[in-house]
């Protein structure tokens, strides 16, 4: 799976970093999403799906 982020949409809520901390982090300077792993393993899928559903800004998408 490939994870895509849209920094312009991100509002820094941090729910992705909470849901999938191995895949997402936040920038120190403004809390905007940082993608740690653009192609996470299958074991991360439920966590990434959770991050997608909890992102208030629809800033994360997953492509196969």
């Amino acid at each position: 799976m490939k994870v895509l982020i849209d920094e312009d949409r991100c509002c820094g809520a941090g729910n992705c970093a909470l849901a999938a901390p191995e895949v997402f982090d936040q920038r120190e300077e403004d809390g905007i999403v940082l993608l740690l792993d653009p192609a996470p393993g299958e074991s991360q899928r439920p966590l990434v799906d959770d991050a997608v559903s909890r992102c208030p800004a629809a800033a994360i998408s997953v492509v196969e």
Partner: protein
């Protein structure tokens, strides 16, 4: 088209203190999940109840937050004057620019760094509670002071001045407050914060307010004293009362659900999941979030016309069968769902990771420290905050 029939009142009467009014669920699961309602203020508008519909409204830029008439008060309401830097009443593109000035202070990582200090604050208050013994009001002993002290330290507001913001906040959240008294409370608080900003400029500390003042003085074009006061106002008011009520109300509901309480006492590591479930189940933003349509918009098959008000019942959404099974059951072992207790969209609660951290510390500690904690009065005698904009308990007498 003119209205020929008055709309039914937005339901606010609870049958059970821990559940949203039944009628809201009936509307959500019925033929017209978006329906015309009237509000205590005399306004009419739409009540939106389904999780998907509310998320659609909250992420649609065709709805504005700028019209902030408070419709859940029966007192005559006017639209408060706009103020710069008040995130709650700003739309894009100004809103994200201002919000971004604060997001770095509330990242998941920052909150993890705060955890040891939050734990220390919670432990100190539990020690004081233990030393006192007898019947203790948990709101006064723990629920209110912990988040108040945390937000004071984070912002750099003297905790000794807490009377200022606790009293003002209590006033602001009363549903029956007159518009004039509300504005007077706001003005008084603004004066206090204006003085605080000037004092901090001369004597900065290691805190958020000093940091923002330094950025303002270094020429950040968005930051000036009016904005700094708005930020401090928002963070103080939103930062203590909400979490305080989650602590009080969560303790009450756990004491009434001994099986769930036993699980949490025996497995404090369940606290993370428990907090998420308590946020969903209790939905202290118990009335509605408000938005106004800037143009004609169709939501969930219903046309909302330009200028019409929508009231988003997040509590109805948090019990939506489309979101989760057996929503009426409190289950602290549940996989967390995308509940709307912090809102959704660009205005989703800025302080949510701080709130989570405080609640996780409290609920991984309270019942291991006081395993025999129980209510000191029957639940029917506990005063619930049906008269306030944020739900909770006014007092929670406990013993152990």
């Amino acid at each position: 088209m003119t209205e020929t029939m008055s709309a039914p009142a937005f339901p606010t009467q609870r049958q059970c203190p821990f559940h949203p009014p039944q009628e809201i669920g009936e509307v959500r699961d019925g033929e017209q999940p978006i329906s015309r309602v009237s509000f205590p203020s005399g306004d009419t508008g739409w009540m939106v109840t389904r999780h998907a519909d509310i998320r659609a409204v909250l992420t649609d830029p065709r709805f504005t937050v700028r019209n902030r008439r408070f419709v859940f008060s029966s007192q005559k309401q006017e639209t408060p004057p706009p103020r710069r830097g008040m995130l709650l009443s700003m739309d894009a593109p100004e809103h994200p620019a201002y919000r971004k000035l604060l997001t770095r202070e509330f990242t998941v990582r920052r909150m993890q760094h705060l955890r040891p200090r939050i734990q220390q604050i919670v432990d100190e208050h539990l020690d004081a509670m233990a030393a006192k013994g007898g019947v203790v009001d948990l709101v006064e002993a723990l629920a209110l002071p912990v988040p108040s002290l945390v937000i004071c330290e984070l912002l750099g507001v003297p905790y000794a001045d807490r009377e200022h913001f606790q009293t003002v906040t209590a006033d602001l959240l009363r549903l029956d407050i007159t518009f004039e008294r509300r504005q007077a409370a706001v003005d008084e608080f603004d004066r206090y914060l204006g003085v605080l900003v000037k004092t901090k400029r001369l004597d900065p500390g290691e805190d958020l307010l000093s940091d923002l003042i330094a950025r303002a003085d270094a020429g950040d074009e968005l930051l000036d004293d009016e904005v700094l006061v708005s930020f401090a106002f928002l963070l103080l008011v939103a930062g203590h009362e909400t979490t305080a009520n989650m602590i009080g109300l969560s303790t009450a509901v756990l004491l009434e659900n001994p099986d769930q309480l036993a699980l949490l006492r025996e497995q404090p590591e369940l606290a993370d999941k428990a907090v998420e479930e308590l946020l969903r189940y209790l939905t202290i933003i118990h009335l509605a979030l408000q938005r106004t349509a800037l143009e004609d918009v169709e939501i969930g098959g219903q046309l909302i016309k330009k200028g019409e008000l929508v009231a988003l019942s997040v509590s109805a959404a948090n019990f939506d069968p489309a979101l989760l099974d057996e929503a009426d059951r409190l289950d602290i072992t549940r996989q967390p769902v995308a509940h709307l207790s912090f809102g959704f969209g660009p205005h989703q609660c800025l302080g949510q990771q701080l709130a989570r951290m405080e609640l996780r510390v409290v609920f991984s500690t309270l019942f291991t420290r006081f395993p025999t904690l129980r209510l000191a009065v029957p639940i029917s005698e506990v005063p619930f905050r049906t008269d306030m904009a944020i739900y909770g308990v006014h007092e929670l007498p406990v013993r152990w």
